[in-house]
Symmetry: C2
Subunit: 439 residues, 2 copies
Amino acid sequence: MARQAYRASLFHLPDAPDGGRPPLDGWFADGGLLIEDGVVVEAGAWETIGPRLPRDVPVTRYSHALIVPGFVDAHVHFPQIDMIASHGVQLMGWLTDYTYPVEERFADPQLARQTADFFLDQLLRHGTTTALVFATVHKSSVEALFESALARNMRLIGGKVLMDRNAPAGICDTAETGYRDSQALIRAWHGRGRLGYAVTPRFALTSSERQLELAGRLLSENPGVRLHTHLAENHEEIAIVRRMFPDCRDYLAVYEKFGLATRHSVFAHGVHLSDSEWQRLGKCGSALAFCPTSNLFLGSGLFDCASAGFHHVPVGLGTDVGAGTSLSLLQTMNEAYKVSQLRKAPIDVFQLFHMATLGGARALKLDHKIGNFLPGKEADFLVLDLKATALIARRLAQVKAVQDVLFALAVLGDDRAVAETFVAGKRVYRKSPDTGSAP
Amino acid sequence: MARQAYRASLFHLPDAPDGGRPPLDGWFADGGLLIEDGVVVEAGAWETIGPRLPRDVPVTRYSHALIVPGFVDAHVHFPQIDMIASHGVQLMGWLTDYTYPVEERFADPQLARQTADFFLDQLLRHGTTTALVFATVHKSSVEALFESALARNMRLIGGKVLMDRNAPAGICDTAETGYRDSQALIRAWHGRGRLGYAVTPRFALTSSERQLELAGRLLSENPGVRLHTHLAENHEEIAIVRRMFPDCRDYLAVYEKFGLATRHSVFAHGVHLSDSEWQRLGKCGSALAFCPTSNLFLGSGLFDCASAGFHHVPVGLGTDVGAGTSLSLLQTMNEAYKVSQLRKAPIDVFQLFHMATLGGARALKLDHKIGNFLPGKEADFLVLDLKATALIARRLAQVKAVQDVLFALAVLGDDRAVAETFVAGKRVYRKSPDTGSAP
């Protein structure tokens, strides 16, 4: 691929935001992004980049548009895309009533592949270029996901669910088959294209001690492989974990006991953590996925961003679809903000965008590859439409400051705000021209 | 206008829903709506209506569509449409930092008229055919709103803000000018076309006792006129009200003292009410507007639907834009559900649709005119697009039961779900064909 330049307003976070101060080194009202072979050469002011460009570099110029890094979804279940918006229960009932029956169907590899294709196309439509994804217990469901992701050249991490108790037989493995299947998947897929593998026990209460032990062994045998599971989402769940693991002082201790709390671990939720758990997370370098639309939809509770910041726990934003109600990281930012307001500790818009880009990449230990536009990063980026809806256009006509523009997009935006999505420098999604136009 | 028939799936609530039981007398998978002169003649199964239709009655047939009553927005501020998605404060700072400066501009009648036109077009686009609307302190802002609504033949209730203290001078009236202007507006507009007037003190703390007294007089002098104000949204607000009205036992008592808690009153929010206030609301017949997106956005708190039900307090859904984050009653239902989940008392989808249609009409004392499709009701209705987005289409392919269809629309829908909007039998909005189509 030859060089290619894109000109529009541009925002990225060269580093984590520092309090409420606008990170102006990442904001260019008239900006440029120069790409070569799917990698960022330079991002900055057009007046710097433009004049130095050789004549043969094609320039794509956008009006009323903002280029940002592709979004990172730090926790999502691809097989649950069809059960989104199921009604009326909290976590444990959700799993029994909806999740397990749906996941059972993924024994069918064709269903898995068709669903994976739909799911990944939807991610790209919503501006998500990287995700950490739960498959099902079936090995073939992971293969379906990875094949689809490879075909789109997406940087994606996924894994087979490990679950050998407290669930219907049809979606249980055993400690040994779970280990063997995971090992085979890691050999076949980890590091292939832009793919990575995550050892994926569903959560403490559906795995035997033996299975958790073998999950730990998978991690130590395969450096760089991630650990992806759930932690402290719901009070009933926590109470059951305590009963099942009486020798562990708390929920996190179960994962610690089996070597699963590492700097390559991502725990979804962490809504109800003790001070001690926060401190230990901060020390071991594990990350949390904050999933506001899911935490509200299931009534799980209000994630504590302030404690995460205080204890230096990396946090990415997760949609957690199917329990989450939107695949859009913009809508997820909207509700993350609302959660922080209910906690009387509002997070600012730079923190919101950080959790959806660079912060998410850090949570997934992918920040050396993606998350912003520093030279050498892979060119996953979005062209956001600043006139995506009449309401967004009208609001943005009132404001100029970067924080106000970004906040309006976070609060009012959805998939219509994504005009184009690029993966490794190649456009993989373009909104149809009339979508979201004013009446 | 001659007779006109519409054929599609159809759902309305002939009466308030009874617990979780699907109100099947309002659900027709193949339904019909027969209209004459802007009024409902009949709604029901097509197999009943169709064969009896005279040949000259034109039939509009929709595929993958659901006809529902037009939505009622029980609390919204039209001048705040441009300040939607402003960042970072709770109620009192919100008013000072954002609201008052914006409302000051509405001294300009041209701005008011242009904004009212935009606002009402947006309501129709989002499927809202009736709203209870705050204007600003300026008499001309109400005239602008009513002129725009009259031109669209919308059933709409609005009023001039009364505010004579604790706000910038430029947007204060006096007790006497407030009374006089309101009286003149009532004479000119109440009952004209489909319009109604609401006496509109902003809230207890921006009106003198004299002004509240005159507001009470406006109500008693003008039977049928509504009262529209705010109540118990935020703890700081409540504390100030207590200091300002030391002789009143609580917030509601201030309104009671001046004769403002009547069966024609609508109080926005009511997030923090005592048992006594709930009981008294139940007795006086005043209604509440539940505004979830606003209550979350400003971190005000979680509305208590269960208490409202227990005390038989009528509740409508309000968007409360600009503090609300969407004009869509569907998105408002989504967040209403989340609020109820956080309170561990999930409301079902029939309650959600009730609050957005018949319940909202009851809250506004308009249920003899609108809210469902009983014969004689004004024909305000929506054609919802069951394939509005790829995700909605896919989810609806999984489910058949009316509660699942409605819930998917409430959770996943937004303005794209509104294919057409009819006001008094006339189509006033139609989505452009490509809007929201799948990639």
